[in-house]
Symmetry: C2
Subunit: 360 residues, 2 copies
């Protein structure tokens, strides 16, 4: 069950996908080490320019001859509303002051058309550079984009947080679907439901219900950190796992030191959902920023507007190792996180999985 149609399709040895964490985590060292260790390394390219993407793909090809993949954010339509930006800035300016940042009033934010055009450029680079696998978060690309990627024999992976979203991914022609349980850290990949925070579904419930309703391979994501999580996911009907937090604390990951250290020192009770950092719901470790913004979070601008607004705050907080104002994305299993090499992580997962199989 650990070697199956999914591992065959992706041409990987082990059914382990490194989650495409955006924002500097997926260094070429991390991605190549995952692929070289038998898993699937993924570039989290959501926030990257087409030029940066091309550069990293080329670099990766010198570091691994195994397959790797890339993840893109499907742009959702959004509006830039100046009044909302000013209200948000009124909440953010006291934080800026604490961090010795200048206050802000308005902000130059690219509009939806510009964001969409960048997405199309990103897709073009993926095709031109022959990346074998491309995954999507926050939605399903247009028929045109899908058909162009398919013409180039690129394997497509969608993201779903409900059965309905998984079914839509299959209908649209995705080859594989990553199913994100409520345990998952970072951004929620939901794209159908808006009244969202109150009915996130846990993996134990979500995976088998999705498996019963799609025929493409399902990858379980959320809270999976070791061989136990891998084997549990396989029992629930998944063909493999996608792991974020477990790779984030690895030596090779590009995550900020304060971010890694915080994950290594908190418990399963310490994460919560917030939309205050980016305008989209995401799970991170509770800190002053999340708590301070909590009562306002329903009224903040949407993604990517709010994300742009908080950029200066996140950046300076990271540079000062100030964990109270960074986005400390983490799934619900921080007690299982370790600082170790990718190779050791993957080897441990597979040897633990084999032990579980043997003792079954």
């Amino acid at each position: 069950m650990l070697n199956n149609e999914m591992t065959a399709k992706l041409k990987i040895k082990y059914p382990i996908i490194q989650a495409p964490m955006a924002g500097g985590v997926t260094t070429s060292e991390l991605v190549s080490e995952v692929s070289n260790s038998g898993g699937l390394g993924m570039i989290g390219a959501g926030y990257m320019t087409p030029i940066q993407i091309r550069k990293q793909i080329r670099e990766l090809k010198t570091l691994t001859s195994n397959p790797f993949g890339i993840n893109l954010f499907v742009p959702n339509e959004f509006e830039v509303i100046n009044d909302d930006i000013q209200s948000a800035n009124r909440l953010l300016n006291p934080i800026r002051e604490q961090l010795n940042l200048p206050p802000k009033d308005r902000l130059e934010i690219p509009d939806f058309t510009t964001v969409y055009e960048t997405f199309i450029e990103q897709v073009k680079v993926v095709i031109e550079e022959n990346v074998p696998i491309c995954s999507f978060t926050f939605g399903i690309p247009s028929k045109k984009v899908i058909s162009e990627l398919k013409k180039s024999d690129i394997i497509l992976i969608g993201t779903a947080t409900t059965v309905r979203e998984a079914v839509e991914n299959e209908k649209a022609g995705m080859d594989i679907v990553v199913v994100q349980g409520s345990e998952a850290g970072g951004h929620r990949g939901n794209f159908i439901d808006n009244d969202y925070k109150d009915n996130l579904v846990g993996s134990m419930s979500l995976i088998p219900q999705v498996v019963d309703n799609v025929s493409i391979p399902v990858i379980a994501a959320g809270g999976i950190m070791d061989g136990r999580g891998l084997m549990a996911s396989i029992c629930l009907g998944a063909k493999g796992v996608q792991m974020g937090t477990a790779f984030l604390t690895c030596i090779e990951s590009g995550a900020n030191k304060a971010h890694k250290d915080t994950i290594l020192n908190v418990t399963e009770e310490d994460t919560r959902l917030t939309r205050s950092f980016s305008g989209k719901w995401a799970r991170g470790i509770t800190n002053n920023f999340i708590l301070g913004m909590q009562t306002h979070e329903s009224y903040l601008p949407e993604f990517p507007v709010q994300n742009t607004l908080t950029q200066d705050i996140r950046k300076v907080a990271a540079s000062k190792n100030n964990k109270e104002f960074m986005s400390l994305w983490s799934g619900q299993s921080p007690r299982l996180a370790k600082q170790q090499t990718v190779k050791k992580l993957i080897n441990n997962i597979m040897s633990d999985a084999e032990k579980i199989k043997t003792n079954m």
Copy 2:
């Protein structure tokens, strides 16, 4: 792994515990059928009088010679505040009017001392009637209660929703701990954390983190409906499962028909947490009552005050099969629920589990 120290301790054939759902679900037919089919049947006695408890225990002994257990609610201190009751009634009276119920102003509610005395009476009956297994929800009983139960060789099962709560259960002398993931239907068993709703932990994360931190056997609960969930739980390190919703829709369960029918017709997106029915957080299928009370739910009286206040509403709604004002407790896997006999459910779980083992 399906026969282990937990099944040996409880003297059961299969590692399946029927969740002790309170409020009329756990008929003697249900409980005895579970025990007769190789699982552990449990009386949900939280709302039962000592006399009712004694009667059902005696009845069960005529229906099964296998072990069965009982669950009691550990009373938490509460205050009866008349102003809060009047505010709550102002919200509930328009609903009463819709259901042709008379409006209410004040209400006779037993105080904490009375509730606690009833609990001590319940414990006494459990001891006198030699029930071999007793589980607890909403807290850990006093040292005195625990030592009296242990003197009678009664096996004690605690309930936890976090690692901290599981550790407290072990320290207090519980023999086994049920660990309730965020997927679970009905009342949350939390008793340490109050700021609760925002950091519920999913089973995929919670089970292995608890297993790593206690040495007593862990039972997984929440969203488990079939052999896949059982095997996944075992992989995560649990020694067995406790299942509620899967038994609730069984032929033998005493749940209201409208309740069963609703579970059989909704999806994983349709449940949410509410404290509007009872004053404690619980997961149920979203209906008009939950939605209508949602903006007020943080201010409602605590358990059991709010529970007593909504009693007339829930009762008349149930009698009219009006699902909009009943507490439709359900876990997050309603798509996996079936109307079937207990025997068939348990046999299917075990044969599916064996198949998974074989194909591993």
